[in-house]
Symmetry: C2
Subunit: 284 residues, 2 copies
């Protein structure tokens, strides 16, 4: 296994969407902040699994003792960009006991009969949990904008509602990490062809993927507007170059690690008399 | 890493609770069917992670295409027996996208106002999913029997209701694996003391654990009755000696592998015209 190489610059800083951010200026092929190549990135991912696992267990433990803190990772991307790989290879290293993955597909009739945030609210992580949204309420301002399923006024209402919603979650103790995995149009084509050429991947392909692909530029515009309107102090967006899957994975892992490290986690103090319980146990 | 040693006899056969089974005849220290020691067991666990992951992905893929099959692993045990370790180290090797872990603690007021199977029904895995119950409806015939929270007639009603419930799940496409992790009374004492001696484990300890420990023999009797009454053809129990954590983990992993292998899984066939889509993709 290659030597582990660490990030030189913190992903939570250099990948964060700030004022004046331009999606078109991000090279999906790049590896910002990371000086290593694939082999060292793969080694880094494996090498940090345990640290992530321990921090998540601490978060979970605190959640059992009344601490309201929880983490919500929101994943958005064009098809094939690697959301599933992040869930399997980064999120998958944490204890399933404390992780809640919520995929958002086309809404059901019942969901459509409610406000767009209704189904989101129901899927939020409880205290101590790491919640992962595979797609999210942002679909309601992405695909809905691209296909004009919502008019301009309704879209404005939604951006505002999203910011208020996320501010409320943050005030309640939820730390929100919003991630867009950014691949290039050419990379998507290669990945779609690779799926079509592998029968074990056909189940992941749908003809709709190509239909949506035709709207690539509209999607990029819709993402840019999302970043402009909803990258807030309490819930900033991060755009992660994702043509190199190994880079996207270590970048998200590092974001999770940095975020958990800032949450001031510790093992809950015993709520019982330890020596007395020890004596009882010895006698038992 | 030690050489991988495989099971000589299938856990799904030799650990299965059949007619005339006596819990008191199972040595919690033993490693039935497995000729290797700890190091080879640990190597086996790691070596089979990938196979388990692929089978689970196939189950998930089929679930997306109308196949009703799903898997439900029910874990029961005395405190400290290692349910959490099974979830983290065996279940944790599968893709979180297709796994649903449901812990059952003391019921809420709303849950208590319903029949005991109400909250269980709500936590069942959807088609394609692997569901894991950390405790289950069996608490309603275990702790409830031990403390006489239910009278004899009510307990009889529950055993019957459980068998009918599980038969219905099975008919709907759910394969049920019921596992009791079996530790000895002495082993539990050592593990409780170890928790008390490690501040990072205090959150897992509760004085109630020792209170329940005092009812050890009543619990063993209650488990024996559960096995007698609810180990059915469609949902058999397996008693897994669990004093050696590494053995319990490979035994459960092997049970999952054998069960998935019997489910006749395959990658779903494409529901689209592959060459036509390929041509579209090339043009896109």
């Amino acid at each position: 296994m290659a030597a582990v190489v660490e990030f030189k610059k913190s992903p939570s800083k250099i990948l964060k969407v700030g004022r004046g951010f331009e999606l078109s200026g991000v090279d999906p092929q790049s590896t910002p902040g990371y000086p290593g190549k694939k082999a060292s990135g793969v080694a880094l991912l494996a090498g940090q699994d345990h640290r992530l696992d321990v921090l998540q267990e601490m978060l979970f433990a605190q959640g059992q003792f009344g601490n309201p803190q929880r983490l919500l990772l929101i994943l958005q991307a064009m098809d094939t960009a690697g959301k599933g790989g992040i869930v399997e290879h980064v999120v998958g290293s944490m204890d399933p006991q404390g992780v809640k993955v919520a995929p958002f597909k086309a809404p059901s009739d019942e969901e459509k009969a409610h406000d767009f945030l209704w189904r989101i609210e129901k899927a939020l992580p409880a205290p101590g949990f790491v919640g992962v949204f595979d797609r999210s309420h942002y679909e309601d301002v992405l695909i809905h904008r691209v296909h004009a399923w919502a008019d301009a006024a309704e879209l404005e209402r939604r951006y505002k509602a999203i910011n208020e919603f996320e501010a409320r979650l943050s005030a309640e103790g939820t730390t929100i990490i919003k991630v867009m995995l950014h691949i290039s149009r050419d990379e998507q084509k290669e990945r779609l062809l690779a799926r079509l050429d592998d029968p074990s991947k056909h189940w992941k392909y749908s003809p709709v993927d190509l239909t949506e692909r035709a709207f690539w530029n509209s999607y990029m515009d819709a993402y840019q507007i999302v970043f402009d309107k909803t990258s807030t102090d309490v819930a900033p967006w991060h755009v992660i170059p994702a043509n190199k899957k190994w880079y996207a994975r270590i970048a998200v892992q590092e974001l999770l690690l940095e975020t958990l490290a800032k949450m001031d986690l510790a093992w809950p103090k015993a709520t019982f008399n330890v020596p007395a319980e020890r004596a009882r146990a010895v006698q038992s």
